[in-house]
């Protein structure tokens, strides 16, 4: 092997190791992980939102043809949400705008992510897995406000 080839190979290896290290740092420092197996949650068929501690909420969301239940979730700034998502029919999915939330909703399985909303605003999400003729009308949003008297969900 030529010297220059060895250099190119080492540089490539180094690049990938640096990337990997940065990802492991993000996982350790910011808890940036990908969804994992959920085994401590019973299957659910209705959507709910409830408070589990002062600023923590648990959301059970159902995706179906062609709506998210709930489709609007109104919460105060600083809320942390434990989101559990499943599908009642075929595969759906969504990504919340400007947030590291991106989940597939698959029938027969529960998906989970924890997200914290530090800034007020509207966080839009659209169904991003093809789910039939009206797929493009399936969307929802988080509405995060400075003061919310009663956290609520709309569309269910």
């Amino acid at each position: 092997m030529d010297k220059s080839e060895k250099l190119a190979l080492s540089l490539s290896g180094l690049l990938l190791i640096v990337f990997f290290g940065a990802l492991m740092y993000a996982a350790a420092a910011e808890d940036l992980e990908v969804p994992t197996c959920i085994t401590d949650m019973d299957p659910f068929t209705t959507d709910t939102l409830f408070q589990t501690s002062e600023d923590t909420y648990e959301l059970h969301m159902i995706a179906r043809m062609w709506a998210f239940q709930p489709s609007t979730i109104r919460l105060p700034v600083g809320s942390t949400v434990d989101m559990y998502v499943t599908s009642q029919d075929i595969i759906h999915g969504f990504k919340v705008e400007n947030k590291n939330v991106n989940l597939m909703a698959v029938p027969g399985a529960i998906n989970y992510v924890r997200v914290r909303f530090n800034e007020p605003g509207e966080y839009f999400f659209a169904c991003h897995e093809f789910c039939g003729a009206a797929h493009h009308t399936m969307a929802g949003r988080f509405v995060i406000e400075e003061s919310v008297d009663e956290p609520e969900t709309i569309g269910g």
Partner: protein, 43 residues
């Protein structure tokens, strides 16, 4: 002629390709870390 060509090839060192490759790695790092910090900003 034939000999000269072989000689030229023996001493061929891909300096330009190495320089190109280093630039490529730098470009890759810029793009990748751009998106990485986008992700950190969305926490």
């Amino acid at each position: 002629m034939e000999n000269k060509e072989t000689e030229h090839e023996e001493e061929f060192k891909p300096k330009g390709a190495v320089a190109f490759f280093i630039l490529l790695i730098i470009l890759f790092s810029i793009i990748w870390f751009g998106l990485y910090f986008e992700m950190l900003g969305r926490v």
